[in-house]
Symmetry: C2
Subunit: 146 residues, 2 copies
DNA sequence: GACGTTGACGATACCGAGTCTCACTCAGTA
DNA sequence: TACTGAGTGAGACTCGGTATCGTCAACGTC
């Protein structure tokens, strides 16, 4: 279960001000499972009558991304989404049914990157890997349904 | 060197009409090296005084993508771009200096996907891998420059 | 606790990518 | 040649994201 205080702590450590709107956005993120878009948070805030401006939500997301408290992912649809995550290098596995995401280290990746570098002559600097599939829960639900 | 006739052939085989605007868009794509955005093509068309509507360019790109004659990639900046490519499963290595792209099979990927599936319990259906680095030409140019 | 500084805020205008609509055109066919 | 419907261009529209600007409040200092 994600926790708003994690983000707040990261913010504090980095020397940023702990303002009410930032706490609210952190709380909205914590209240979500899986990926979410900026628009989702804007809607959430409006529904819960939390007085946070649209611009503020975008700014907060930008800041959290910079601090690696959340990460941007690109869905197959081309949409930009965010997921809350630990600030270490990893990748996301995204359930295409329920949108839940899981972090993985995908430790085989450096080898793949090395191989690609060898094959193409490129000096590989970074990569982006996103995996899409069906999570265990949805698999179970699907098989129950027949 | 990409070739407009490749796209035109794919279009023809799929039973789509070979109209002038589609040939023009195919030509614009062929005239590019590396990735490009829809806006790039719109600009190109305007510069060369080719009478192709903006909507038509978007429609053509959508169609070409559907036929796997071009593929969408997401740049680290979050921009959506396209690259011309062969209609088989592969990944792109993108030069962060000159934007040139190269296709690779990244044959180690199925193993990584399998491993991730095992570790998370997800049934992996698809993945998206993009690699960013410096191409051989830019490396050479850089080392010449000191 | 009061105060001052300045980073953060909300409102809102703005921008640009992409989509939708609709009347018109033209490629392919009978 | 006439017909038909896929494809087109113009332009309005939507929506995600950014920029601006006057105001507010977090936080360090006294």
């Amino acid at each position: 279960m994600p926790d708003a205080s994690t983000i707040v702590t990261v913010l504090d450590r980095a020397g940023y001000r702990l303002t009410e709107p930032r706490r609210v956005v952190a709380g909205l993120i914590a209240g979500r499972e899986g990926h979410f878009t900026a628009a989702d948070l804007v809607d959430d805030a409006r529904e819960r009558r939390l007085d946070v401006g649209r611009a503020t939500i975008f700014r907060a997301l930008e800041l959290f991304t910079e601090l690696s408290a959340v990460e941007r992912v690109d869905l197959p649809s081309g949409e930009h989404a965010y997921v809350e995550c630990e600030p270490i290098h990893h990748h996301h596995v995204i359930c295409s049914q329920c949108a839940r995401t899981t972090e993985v280290e995908a430790c085989g990746m450096p080898a793949v990157a090395r191989e690609v570098g060898k094959a193409t002559g490129f000096k590989i600097q970074s990569h982006r890997l996103e995996l899409f599939g069906i999570c265990p829960d949805c698999q179970a639900a699907n098989s129950r349904r027949g």
